[in-house]
């Protein structure tokens, strides 16, 4: 088959996009449109083999704007529906669009089991730390003490970190990005798509109406992001700051932020990111970092190779079929203990 070269516009269907002006979802949508031609090229997948599956919530409207196969399903179940789709059709590139309420509250069970099974999905987790479509109730990722319509005196629940949860649930690829970092998001999407197995791409998105500036402390401007986030790159030193002057070192069993050249710390003390490490301990620590104690980690936190659920299902089928070649239903029905009435 001749390779088709796509442009971002080939992946949008022209429907009017109805997110609020200023919503972070617009940015992620644009990053996806930019990522897909590259994914198509790298994996040699034509447009008709892309499927976008979503649950319910603002971000789940995503699929209505795509010119791919799509299914806007029910609240929380996109990961489960995608699991069935990918198992049945390993040849498809299956994407899940889901919010923090969708994936971590009502759909939490499907989320962790999709991670555990390592099914080859690309799950874009739009984390705006609020329920937007129902108009402003706290979510499982809302910061402790957050005042919302259903927590007028502040939340009293510890939030989930989606990336930490995904790592704990054995996801083989976990990345984090920020809505305004279009290129970073695009890169994470492409890397996630090329990774074989469950890819969780947490995108920190702004809800301009109900949770405006929830990520602002560490994501508001380029200057803030340079100082308060750290871009993790496999094989590179964990450095951040406008001049990459700050780094992460291991202090006992904890991470510590240091300035290179101060307090006796040299560049050699700064950790080198190993996204491919099987061990989840350091990845968990990196994903757990919260401002102001630490910079917020973005980039690929974890990227390990292990067999995918869909390819293992296919392998078992191949094995059984080569052991019993050309078996038909009749062979099953007439096999074993039967008797004839003459």
């Amino acid at each position: 088959m001749a390779k088709i070269e796509y442009t971002p516009n080939d992946f949008r269907n022209g429907n009017a996009v109805k997110w609020c002006p200023g919503c972070g979802d617009h940015a992620v949508f644009n990053s996806v449109l930019k990522a897909l031609p590259e994914v198509s090229e790298r994996l040699n997948i034509p447009r008709e083999n892309f499927a976008f599956i979503s649950g319910i919530g603002c971000s789940s409207r995503f699929v209505y704007y795509m010119n791919t196969y799509g299914f806007h399903t029910i609240h929380g179940r996109a990961a489960a529906i995608s699991t069935g789709l990918k198992t049945a059709r390993p040849d498809l590139s299956v994407w899940v669009c889901s919010g923090d309420g969708d994936s971590l509250a009502i759909g939490g069970n499907h989320f962790i089991h999709a991670c555990r099974r390592n099914i080859d999905l690309n799950l874009i987790l739009f984390n705006n730390e609020i329920y937007g479509l129902t108009k402003g109730q706290y979510s499982p990722t809302s910061k402790l003490g957050k005042i919302t319509k259903t927590s007028p005196f502040g939340t009293i629940e510890e939030p989930f970190s989606p990336a930490v949860l995904a790592i704990g649930a054995k996801a083989s690829f976990v990345a984090r990005t920020i809505d305004m970092e279009l290129d970073l998001t695009k890169d994470m999407l492409v890397e996630g798509a090329c990774h074989k197995g469950m890819s969780v791409i947490e995108t920190l998105v702004n809800c301009v109406i109900f949770n405006h500036k929830t990520h602002a402390d560490y994501a508001d401007t380029k200057a803030i992001r340079e100082e308060r986030t750290i871009r993790l790159v496999h094989g590179e030193k964990m450095l951040f700051g406008a001049n990459k002057e700050k780094g992460l070192v291991l202090d006992g069993l904890r991470l510590k932020v240091v300035t290179v050249g101060e307090d006796g710390y040299t560049i050699d003390d700064v950790l080198t990111h190993d996204a491919h490490s099987e061990d989840t301990a350091l990845h968990t620590m990196l994903a757990s970092m919260r401002y102001p104690d630490y910079p917020v980690a973005v980039g690929v936190i974890r990227d390990v190779a292990r067999p995918t659920y869909d390819s293992e299902v296919a392998r078992q089928i191949e094995e059984q079929q080569s052991a019993k070649p050309n078996m038909k239903a009749d062979d099953l029905f007439f096999g074993g203990e039967t008797w004839k009435v003459e």
Partner: protein, 618 residues
């Protein structure tokens, strides 16, 4: 002529195995058979207690048998608890075969009875009590096999098998072959011991002239010509789907969560990867149906299997399948409810849940199976309706069907009806302008003449589209909340389901097509109810009978048939759900309900009395 044997013992005594082997041997010998396992939910309740008693009933006859039978003519009791628990299932003059080695003063006293008077205490004075030293016979028979006592005692059930087969002069070859296959290579000593036990039992029956009252004429089969195998309802459902997948050219996908009594379907399907069957044991019931919906979106014949509590959990996703016109079969192997209810007992009380248990007006096809072998046909037809009409179908079976067995006249896939899903390519739709919008994009709810949505499967170039659970415009499928669009889509959803009745045959009336009383039944009650009605009719009663298989849409011909009878009596194991549905769906003025809420099969005697009462009323 009919004989009912009930094997009862501790959960670990192997009663299910001896029951299955007896019934298969009888079927192999040409008898009609039907089985009914009756086991506790607990895996191994404490030994020797009434709670731990496991039963297995076999009904066999010289003609085809359609139900599990009533009270048993032969009761096998492996211990005092089994006798106490199951003596109520024996006829007044039954033969009771008990392991006399287990009946001591202490074991009987433990249950609150006296060894001297237990027979009277249980009301078994008229019975023929056969006190056989089954334990000692077993130990003697396997003495040559160098087994430890515990392993040796595991052969007790094979002595019982030998005795009961011997009583009815049924050959033991089938059972011996089974034992050889099961243990021959793996454990030759155990194999030898089991065969010795079967022979010891057979000899005991012959030597003591223990002869059952009924014999079949040798060499005359109860069944139509053909190749048979023994099948239970769960296996038959699984195989019906396998046949439908092959016929339709779709890959079979099952997403399910384990639940009694439906688990056997998932277990069966999981074995058949050589046939390309994919199964996902999902993280919960919701994921079970959702993985199936995803697989269906991807072009598979997708099924999910469950029981009542699971159907409740699946209801939102089932509504999505209605809304997005997704082909899907949901099997509900009904058990006693509500809530966790009676997991190992059978009931028909999920009918209205299947009909109405979703938000919004959400009609779907509800099909039922009425015997273990019929589960094959109905699973196949459920798949055909789902695939050809692009809609979810709920198939109702129940615990009795799931675990009951009967001989199945094996079907070849080539002899099954065709299944033609409306799969399309861009080229095939090129002439149909109505299938595309002004931008040339595919309108995803475009449908064929049967109102079946064209199935544009991901991977099909030029037909990319988006489905969803939001209300839509009829033509374009674009999201719409307009009252007119909602009203017309609602009407369309109803009409799609109504049209599905075209794929099922009209109801068949047994007996005169008009008269005083028409008796209706569905599901696992069909065998016994139809037989009792036939008996009343043979005795001169003006009563007809019909099975309803398709409940929604209401099977063709039923309303018309009912109108020719003064009274209609609906027999079912619930509070009268089908009767209530028929009252709402037909104009018949005298629809009566014979409802049994005991989560047990109807008893023939009481059933006959009820039918006569309704027949003879003025």
């Amino acid at each position: 002529m009919s004989v009912v044997i009930r094997f009862s013992g501790d959960s670990g005594d192997g009663m299910q195995m001896v029951g299955n082997l007896f019934s298969e041997s009888a079927a192999f010998a040409g008898y009609g058979v039907f089985t009914f396992p009756d086991y506790p939910a607990e895996v191994r309740a404490p030994q020797g207690t009434v709670a731990g008693v496991s039963g297995f009933q076999v009904h066999f006859d010289t003609h085809a048998v359609t139900h599990e039978g009533d009270k048993c003519n032969i009761l096998v009791a492996m211990n005092p608890a089994a006798l106490v628990a199951h003596s109520k299932y024996a006829t007044a003059t039954a033969t009771i075969l008990l392991d006399s080695d287990g009946f001591t003063k202490d074991t009987v006293a433990k249950l609150g009875y006296d060894i001297e008077t237990i027979v009277e205490q249980l009301g078994l004075q008229e019975c023929n009590i056969v006190e056989a030293p089954i334990t000692q016979m077993t130990l003697d028979a396997v003495a040559q096999c160098e087994l430890d006592r515990k392993s040796a005692l595991k052969c007790r059930n094979m002595v019982v098998l030998g005795i009961t087969l011997g009583m009815y002069d049924i050959a033991t070859d089938y059972a011996k072959k089974f034992v050889e296959k099961k243990f021959g290579v793996k454990n030759p000593l155990v194999c030898k011991a089991n065969i010795a036990a079967i022979e010891a039992g057979e000899n005991y029956a012959k030597n003591t002239h223990l002869v059952g009252e009924t014999h079949a004429e040798k060499g005359v089969s109860a069944l139509a010509k053909g190749t048979y195998r023994s099948i239970n309802g769960n296996q038959a459902v699984a195989w019906g789907f396998i046949a439908a997948a092959e016929k339709s050219g779709r890959k079979l996908f099952c997403g399910s969560y384990p639940i009694t009594p439906a688990t056997g379907i998932l277990e069966e399907l999981a074995k058949h990867k050589a046939l390309g069957v994919k199964t996902v044991q999902a993280e919960d019931e919701i994921a079970g149906i959702c993985t199936a919906i995803g697989a269906s979106f991807g072009g598979a014949l997708a099924v999910t299997t469950t029981s009542g509590p699971g159907l409740a959990l699946k209801s939102e996703a089932l509504g999505l399948a209605v809304m997005a016109q997704i082909p899907l079969v949901v099997v509900d192997v009904q058990r006693g409810g509500p809530s966790t209810g009676l997991p190992t007992k059978s009931e028909q009380a999920d009918l209205l849940q299947a009909m109405y248990g979703r938000n919004g007006d959400s009609p779907l096809v509800v099909l039922t199976a009425h015997s273990p072998a019929d589960c094959f046909e109905k699973a196949y037809m459920a798949a055909k309706i789902a695939l050809e009409r692009m809609m979810p179908v709920v198939l109702l079976t129940d615990g009795n069907l799931a675990n009951g067995t009967e001989p199945w006249l094996i079907k070849r896939v080539a002899d099954m009806p065709s299944i033609t899903p409306p799969i399309v390519s861009r080229e095939e739709l090129a002439e149909k302008a109505e299938c595309f919008n002004e931008r040339g994009l595919f309108n995803p709810y475009s449908a064929n003449e049967n109102l079946a949505r064209y199935w544009a499967i991901p991977g099909t170039e030029g037909l990319e589209h988006r489905l969803g659970g939001l209300e839509k415009q009829p033509k374009t499928g674009a999201i719409s909340y307009s009252p007119a669009d909602h009203a017309s889509m609602g009407a369309l959803r109803a009409e799609r389901v109504e049209r599905a009745k075209e794929l099922m045959p009209a109801v068949q009336i047994e007996g005169a097509t008009e008269g005083d009383l028409l008796v209706l039944a569905w599901g696992s009650n069909v065998g016994k109810v139809s037989e009792v009605v036939a008996e009343v009719r043979n005795e001169g009663g003006n009563v007809a009978y019909a099975t309803i298989s398709l409940i929604n849409p209401l099977q063709a011909g039923i309303a018309e048939a009912m109108s020719h009878f003064k009274r209609v009596l609906v027999c079912e194991s619930n509070s009268g759900q089908l009767a209530s549905h028929l009252r709402s769906m037909t104009s018949h003025k005298d629809i009566r309900s014979l409802a049994d809420m005991g989560a047990r099969p109807f008893a023939a005697e009481a059933l006959k009395a009820d039918i006569l009462k309704n027949l003879n009323e003025n």
